[in-house]
């Protein structure tokens, strides 16, 4: 370790001869060199990993771009006369950008954005060096990732919905990248000012919730933008200067971030990255929710609705949902998305509405299953109460069912207006509610991928065998259990037969999700066959 700087006042106990303390950069280098030397990664394997990553990202972007361009071509031209209570594509795109900004701010707040996890916190932060040098790489990471993701996402959105002018996308991508980086840097600035991370996350959540609410308000008022002008290059230049200034200020203030904040942020980021790498969406949700939740509650629920073990379980799930602002916002946003799609003339095709209902329904359903997800990780209450495992799963469907009932009413009233038979569609929507609830519980209780078994090489890296069947638990119920809904939306009509079939499938979905089997049907058959051979 070289690049030394002067040391401060001498401490009382120093049984060693002391010299200048090393520069932070040399501490980072010392740690990194040991890691590189023992990581077992040769230059060849490193290049191979980089090659795989670049190819995978390039293919993904190319596919997404192709899909976006195909979508733009498939969209019908804007009607010459604006329908009443409609929303233009341009307005929707602007509001989607506001929502994305909210998501980014919320994520930045939950992840820190500056943090020092595990070993760095324990072994680096106590050293008497300028912490800015230690934290600089961590502080740069999120703004850069946000800029890259923002550029790709918004450019795709623009290409898919709006752009028909050549040379527009580089300006859109550059502007988006700079705005995304600026949002994360503002969150870092706020963090260095001592503001609690959950406040930043809350502002992001509210911004996200405001976007669809504003969209509905604008649709009702009949106020829409005709087009979004391409950002001029001078604006890109101004944004670049703003981002550079923000980066400079954040860098200067890195040393002001308290160690406790750095530790909390680092811990959340480590948990979140681990969840992403191991493809565990439940763990990711816990990392993002718990890391920014207050450790004490101002109001203590007295659980007055509890009359026995069954109501205790349901009440507990309800408290979990009620206390999670992120999930409530997720529910509101997911309810308004199909409403908006049904009100934008160019998007309100049968395919567009079906896609919106399925995707938004899945997002809403995921928000309602937090109680079950927590119980899957730590079944504390389940073990305390005298209830059978199957009964527990059925009871755990009640809160998701209640939440999805409200969601269904909002969504299917809008679809009924779109298709012309509000009562019929609402009845069909209510019949789908048990399917969503069953899917929420099935997804919550799915087993984790078996990383201890043999791995299969894929373009996305080495994955455990059977990962697809594990990850499809939950979505499978949504896809198969809602076939009558698919047919109804694609035909734009509801019939009593479809409603009856939907009810039958809902009962089947509830029965399937009540099962406590962790293995699939085929796996169980094969296991039985193996046993029979023995």
């Amino acid at each position: 370790m070289t690049d030394e700087v002067d040391r401060p006042a001498a401490p009382a106990v120093q049984p060693y001869e002391l010299g200048p303390v090393p520069a932070p950069r040399s501490i980072r280098r010392f740690t990194a060199q040991a890691g590189n030397a023992r990581g077992g990664a040769s230059l060849g394997s490193l290049l191979s990993d980089v090659y795989y990553a670049v190819i995978t990202i390039a293919i993904s972007i190319a596919l997404a771009l192709g899909f976006a361009q195909a979508m733009r071509v498939a969209l019908p031209p804007a009607p010459t006369v604006e329908p009443p209570r409609g929303l233009s594509l341009a307005t929707l795109a602007v509001l989607m950008l506001v929502g994305l900004a909210g998501v980014l701010l919320s994520l930045a707040g939950r992840l820190g954005p500056v943090g020092a996890g595990g070993a760095e916190a324990a072994w680096w932060l106590s050293l008497p060096v300028d912490r800015r040098g230690l934290l600089r790489p961590a502080a740069r990471r999120l703004p850069i990732v946000a800029a890259l993701v923002g550029a790709v996402l918004v450019a795709l959105l623009d290409a898919g919905l709006l752009a028909d002018v050549g040379g527009r996308w580089p300006r859109v991508a550059a502007t988006s990248a700079l705005v995304a980086a600026a949002i994360v840097l503002v969150a870092a600035l706020v963090q260095s000012g001592g503001v609690a991370r959950r406040r930043t996350a809350l502002v992001g959540d509210l911004l996200l919730a405001a976007a669809p609410v504003a969209a509905v308000a604008l649709a009702v008022a009949g106020s829409s933008l005709d087009e979004i002008p391409a950002p001029p290059w001078w604006l890109v230049g101004v944004l670049a200067i703003v981002v550079a200034a923000l980066a400079f200020v954040v860098d200067a203030r890195l040393g002001r971030i308290p160690e406790r904040t750095l530790r909390e942020s680092g811990s959340v980021a480590t948990q979140a990255v681990g969840a992403v790498v191991s493809m565990d969406s439940r763990e990711l949700g816990r990392a993002l929710s718990d890391g920014s939740a207050p450790s004490n509650r101002r109001y203590v629920s007295r659980l007055r609705t509890v009359r026995g073990p069954r109501s205790a379980l349901v009440s507990a799930d309800l408290v979990v949902l009620r206390r999670s602002t992120r999930h409530l916002v997720q529910l509101v946003v997911a309810a308004l998305v199909p409403v908006l799609v049904a009100s934008v003339p160019q998007l309100a095709s049968e395919g567009g509405v079906l896609l919106a209902v399925l995707l938004a329904g899945y997002v809403a359903m995921s928000a309602t299953g937090d109680g079950a997800r927590r119980a899957e990780m730590a079944p504390v209450l389940d073990r305390l109460l005298p209830l059978e495992a199957k009964q527990v799963r059925r009871l755990r469907m009640l809160v998701p069912a209640a939440a999805m009932l409200v969601w269904s009413v909002v969504v299917f009233v809008a679809i009924g207006r779109w298709a012309g038979d509000v009562a019929g569609w609402v009845v069909l929507g209510l019949a789908t509610t048990p399917v969503w609830a069953a899917a929420a519980v099935r997804a919550s209780y799915r087993p984790a991928p078996n990383w201890g078994g043999p791995l299969v090489s894929t373009p996305f890296g080495a994955l455990p065998g059977g990962v697809a069947s594990v990850l499809s638990r939950g979505p499978d119920v949504v896809v198969i259990g809602l076939v009558p809904l698919w047919i109804a939306i694609l035909l734009r009509t509801v019939t009593p037969t479809l409603i009856v079939i939907q009810l039958v499938l809902a009962a089947a979905a509830v029965a399937l999700s009540s099962s406590i089997q962790t293995k699939g049907f085929m796996e169980r058959m094969m296991a039985q066959a193996d046993e029979g051979r023995r």
Binding site: M1, E4, R7, P8, A9, A10, P11, A12, V13, Q14, P15, Y16, E17, L18, G19, P20, V21, P22, I27, F30, T31, A34, G35, A37, R38, G39, G118, A119, A121, A122, W123, W124, S126, L127, P128, V129, D130, R131, G255, R256, I257, P258, E259, R260, R263, P294, S295, N296
Partner: protein, 229 residues
């Protein structure tokens, strides 16, 4: 008379505005050791976290080396060495490299001799080249404690240092802490070990949710005996 190393006056600690124990008052001078005793969850570790700046006090006064606690200042980090229950290590750094990182990071010259001596004292010589995942929990605990001594300090803060140590190592730790006091250092520790408490400390603070009391080491040892299941 020199300023106390730690001065806590009606110090209130907790999380999100909810105190975990009654206000704590104590003074720790150079060359002395104070123990925090109390049942599990009584708030001992929370008080220690406030002293080393990992937690903002909810109320009262807390000064370390004559100034308000600010772990962001280099001067504070130079003076205060702490060993909490962190069980986090760089997976690619060996035991000795963790100690080198701490010693050299604090500008210790002749780090080779210092690390060698600490490895011997903490029974880690045979594991000097081992990576942390290969160590037992007791060996990892010894590594953390060794790191606390691998650097200069005026205040040594230890959270239940006896945890996961065998009897011989506890005795050796007690000898080290006595030597620390003789060298002019101040020691603040939370402990459930009456022998360590009697061997090292000059006073104890009984941390409780109703009231905190300053006790003699013998009284504190008796309290530990009563509170242990």
């Amino acid at each position: 008379m020199s300023k106390p190393v730690v001065r806590a006056q009606d110090l209130l600690v907790g999380y999100d505005g909810a105190p975990v124990c009654a206000p704590v008052t104590f003074t720790l001078n150079a060359g002395k050791a104070v123990a925090l005793v109390g049942a599990n969850g009584s708030g001992k570790s929370t008080v220690l976290r406030a002293v080393i700046g990992l937690l903002e006090p909810e109320g009262g006064t807390l000064q370390v080396l004559g100034a308000a606690v600010d772990e962001r200042s280099v001067a504070f980090r130079t003076q205060v060495s702490s060993v909490l229950d962190d069980d986090a290590y760089f997976p690619a750094l060996t035991v000795s490299e963790h100690l080198y990182l701490t010693a050299r990071g604090h500008g210790v010259r002749g780090a080779d001799t210092v690390v060698e001596s600490l490895l011997t004292d903490f029974g880690l010589t045979d594991h000097a080249r081992s990576l942390p995942p290969a160590l037992s929990s007791g060996q990892r605990r010894r590594l953390l404690l060794a790191a606390g001594f691998a650097r200069p300090r005026s205040l040594l803060v230890l959270d239940e240092p006896e945890q996961r140590l065998d009897h011989a190592m506890r005795d050796r730790l007690a000898d080290r802490l006595v030597a620390e006091k003789r060298a002019g250092g101040a020691v603040l520790l939370a402990t459930h070990d009456p022998e360590l408490l009697l061997a090292v400390t000059d006073r104890a603070v009984h941390v409780h949710e109703d009231a905190t009391r300053v006790l003699s080491p013998a009284e504190a040892a008796a309290v530990i005996g009563r509170e242990q299941p």
